[in-house]
Symmetry: C2
Subunit: 203 residues, 2 copies
């Protein structure tokens, strides 16, 4: 059973957290702070999309307030983050896992994988950021490599070793906390020309 972000079940009671996120809380905060930093120094403009919600009832109690009185968390059809870096489209999903050995693919919805595929197809930079909180290791895995894994492997989880071999580790930093654009720089080779060449070759 999947709980939407921010929902923790404790003895049949829901505790709702304002900055809603469950296991992704710490990673999400670090990414938000890093993105604010990137924005402040004009390096990149990357932002978080709103959580998709299906509204079923709305009430109108006072003159200028509409209150949603019934709504549901829906399966996200896109990813959490997107934005611009060096004129390029950046798009990613961030997830944290408590597992010591693997990252369950059920963490990423089919629609999100489809979304990352589309971003990649249209020459955006698509990836996932996965943190193994037990090991305190954070990886950036390109969507191409995620999709390759899904196609070729039958397992419903990606072992840590796959990340160690195929993903880029994001080392923790002071400012910004998670300098993941440093890795994007490596990937795009620093220049647009090389990125294009690489992209062309891979296609």
């Amino acid at each position: 059973m999947n709980y939407p972000n921010g929902i923790k079940k404790r003895e049949n009671k829901i505790i709702y957290e304002t900055n809603y996120s469950n296991r992704g809380m710490v990673l999400e905060n670090e990414l938000n702070i890093s993105n604010e930093y990137y924005k402040a120094i004009d390096k990149a403009y990357i932002f978080k999309k709103p959580t998709p919600i299906k509204i079923t009832k709305v009430n109108y109690p006072s003159r200028n307030k509409a209150v949603i009185t019934e709504g549901y968390f829906t399966t996200p059809s896109t990813t959490d983050y997107n934005g611009l870096y060096k004129g390029k489209y950046i798009d990613f999903e961030a997830k944290e896992t408590k597992s010591k050995t693997s990252f369950a693919l059920s963490n990423i919805h089919e629609h999100q994988i489809e979304h990352l595929k589309n971003i990649d197809k249209h020459k955006g930079i698509a990836f996932i950021i996965v943190r193994f909180s037990y090991h305190n290791k954070t990886f950036l895995l390109m969507a191409k490599d995620l999709i390759k894994y899904i196609i070729t492997e039958e397992r419903k989880s990606i072992p840590l070793s796959y990340f160690e071999k195929n993903a880029y580790e994001i080392k923790e930093n002071y400012t910004p906390r998670l300098d993941y654009l440093k890795i994007i720089d490596q990937i795009i080779g620093g220049t647009e020309y090389e990125w294009k060449k690489r992209h062309k070759k891979e296609k």
Copy 2:
């Protein structure tokens, strides 16, 4: 008083529409259909962001359902649409007005203007699409020209004549209904090189 999308006040009762949007309903539908078409023919990948909502109460009535029992529509900090076209970042807001003569700037929130500025600064393609439903005319106004207007003019609305002079009219079509990428092609000059040259010159 502004009502959030999808909320129509009728004698103090709220009628909620599933595909929620108020005056933007028709335009929004046409854009969604056009975007689906672009996606289907692999021309572009442009999608709608979820409506931002602040959730204040969540209930947990059954084993696998979390129900939002209180939430509010919040001021959008970004635009409704973004995506990728020819490897470029596309970002826009779409609005419909019933006015015969002008488009009230109150339709676009300050945060959204800030957002469009940021997209433009980081070399994305930022614009608004405005429909004057009375005249059945739809315009694409580049964020640069929107911002220039806001800075130089004291009026709190943009007259139709400004659109006629400074925006591009999107003529209605059969497939797709609103071929706004045709205009983007004109703007970027069809080739990345020319777009870059233009962007550099303008900076």
